[in-house]
Subunit: 402 residues, 2 copies
């Protein structure tokens, strides 16, 4: 709000609204979005429109008149399909009563922190991390406590559990665990997850688990499972009541623009979540939910294609950028972002702008992702190989030492 | 949450989530929704599915691939169409930069109070009023200050401006003005609106104007304009910066289930609202927004049909209920609810349950709408004449003195 002149006739604006954090990605998008021919790799979405079989399900539901007020927590067929999906993927018997449909993954996170935290409370987050976590926590009047992760140019990113434990105070209410992680690709090991759960148990904290990139795991050891390790793999009795999963249809099923996701948590939270949804958004259009059911039931080939595309994109991008002298880019084990460090230009914001100007490629500056992101750039490789090859053809010369 | 046993493994839940208000309508819906043949008049929606021309616009946009991330404040064609609609209806030149697309009218209100108020702040609301206002304010940690309106069995509802003024304290941040009003049908006069604006001016308060039933005005004096008086009709220079309009596509265009509405306010709020939306819901699906553009551009015949249906429904319901000895029901001047008082049964909740049992008709108890609603019932008459006649045929005997 500081950038905007507020008329003096305007009544006071709440501190949360007045102090709303700008999006560090948004600044770059505004800078470059109108350039003809720009290849946009700054946001976390591919170039594939939602496949027809999903769109057709929405169209059928509209024609069938599924246009009335809906259930606040989601229609029963979707909650059942979500439980079946989770049960199938994780081998963990999930109850439909634990699934609450939201307006995308962002709204799932917003709802999770409203359940877990009050204004003034603290939420611990390994960083660099998805910038919207910080924005959502600040907009609630709570305080994000970032805990920088360690970066080694060859070994990649790692989490120091002792630093997480040391960040917990009496005001801490939750730890955000995003694995595989945006933007780093860091993927928690089973022992990381066990240690995080132990901290949550000890201090009566929520784990807010963002495993939305769980299917995008490039470690051969995970290939057999078809997913990265999950906190479900290591939870002990009682832990199920300590975890809020935030999830989305955006990534796996190419539905970023549909604004549908889900929160999974203890079924006993249903009345609270129902109220927060009733008084916030009043649910997700029924016909969108029918499309989501179809995505879950018929979408495995699509998910496989998305993963294959990301795997190819990862190789194209990482091989090209690693060839640039000085650029530090360990292969990310998960998610679909490359997060190179360019020591020759420590100001990532300036570098991202220069890449718009000189290469006509849009990247996000690492500074957008909180402490630890300085000097890094993020780019999304969930995109056609042709686009990515062209982006690298343009970018590599611009990054070469001069 | 009190009704649910929380497992002792569960970490603490925020006060806002734990104290989320139950919906007084929801209790009745749960009581009666599974009765075969029940005529549901408890919620504010008609029985007309969204017309095909609106659904077809969404379908076209899905097929055209409008399935990617969207603009947080809404796509330009929708913001322009909203400005044109408002300009046409109110003769008030509206700038597209003042329009912010939301997930329905509920989300517009949620966003408005997040702009205007912080936890602990007060918001003044004439009551009885839409129950979700209370729920949304409580979920934010703010405090609703209801100011009961006056009811006269023949003259109907009126607002005592002096009581509104007296309710303002140093913590007050906003006054909610819902006209035509849910559930009472009360419709503000120009002098009411002038007086409310004067209070807002004097104390630097926001007016949160809910004029979503503005097209549903049955006063012959308003027929020429095609709408009820609006706060726009009387605002003075500077007042434009004091008003947040919450609006929806639900009622006029039979789109309750689409979850799309808008907030209108000073363009200078755009960065704040953009942030609140980014970190809350991340916008409304682009293809839904295209359908909304079509509704605005091609929907006037539909709106006229909706109004005509409500006018007929109002006569059917009010004539029938007014024939019951003891029932007090002045004709509501606006909106599409009858709000009868039944002095023979002061417990409206019990009476609504009895009407489910004896008449198989679903009504909402007046207690759901805050102080002043005790002893009243709300029913929605925006429904087919046949359904309403049948509902009255069943209800009238059940209400007759015994």
């Amino acid at each position: 709000m500081t950038a905007t002149l507020l008329p003096d006739t305007m009544p006071p604006v709440s501190a949360e609204a007045a102090g709303v954090l700008p999006s560090g990605i948004g600044e770059l998008v505004a800078y470059g979005v109108h350039r003809p021919g720009l290849i946009p790799l700054w946001v976390g979405e591919g170039d594939r429109p939602t496949p027809d079989f999903i769109g057709a399900a929405a169209e059928r539901a509209i024609r069938d008149g599924a246009t009335f007020y809906t259930r606040m927590l989601g229609i029963a067929p979707l909650r059942e399909a979500l439980a079946a999906y989770v049960t199938g993927l994780y081998g963990d018997e999930a109850d439909p009563g634990r699934f609450f449909v939201t307006v995308g993954g962002m709204h799932a996170f917003h709802t999770a922190i409203r359940v877990a935290a009050e204004p003034g409370d603290e939420i611990v987050i390994p960083s660099p991390t998805w910038s919207n976590f910080f924005g959502a926590i600040a907009a609630l009047g709570a305080r994000a406590v970032p805990v920088p992760m360690q970066f080694e140019p060859e070994a990649g990113w790692s989490l120091d559990i002792a630093r997480i434990a040391a960040a917990v105070t009496p005001r801490t209410r939750a730890i955000v665990v995003n694995s595989p992680a945006n933007p780093t690709g860091w993927t928690a090991t089973r022992s990381d997850l066990e240690a995080l759960l132990a901290i949550a148990r000890r201090h009566r904290l929520w784990i807010i688990a963002d495993e939305i990139y769980g299917r995008f795991s490039f470690d051969p050891d995970h290939a057999a499972l078809g997913r990265a390790p999950s906190i479900r793999d290591v939870w002990q009795p009682g832990d199920r009541d300590r975890v809020l999963f935030v999830q989305t249809f955006s990534k796996n099923w190419a539905m970023t623009g549909w604004r549908i996701g889900w929160l999974e948590g203890p079924a006993a939270l249903a009345p609270a979540v129902e109220g927060l949804i009733l008084y916030g958004t009043s649910g997700v259009a029924t016909f969108l939910q029918h499309a989501a059911v179809t995505a879950l039931r018929e979408g495995e080939a699509l998910v496989a294609a998305q993963i294959a595309q990301a795997r190819e994109g990862r190789a194209i991008v990482c091989d090209a950028l690693r060839s640039v002298p000085g650029v530090q880019l360990p292969y990310p084990p998960g998610a679909f972002y490359a997060f190179p460090r360019v020591p020759a230009e420590p100001d990532a914001r300036l570098l991202a702008m220069r890449l718009v100007d000189e290469a006509n490629v849009g990247l996000a500056p690492g500074t957008a992702f909180g402490p630890g992101g300085e000097g890094f750039l993020r780019l999304c490789f969930a995109r056609s190989a042709d686009d990515l090859r062209e982006a690298m053809r343009r970018m590599v010369p611009a990054l070469m030492p001069r």
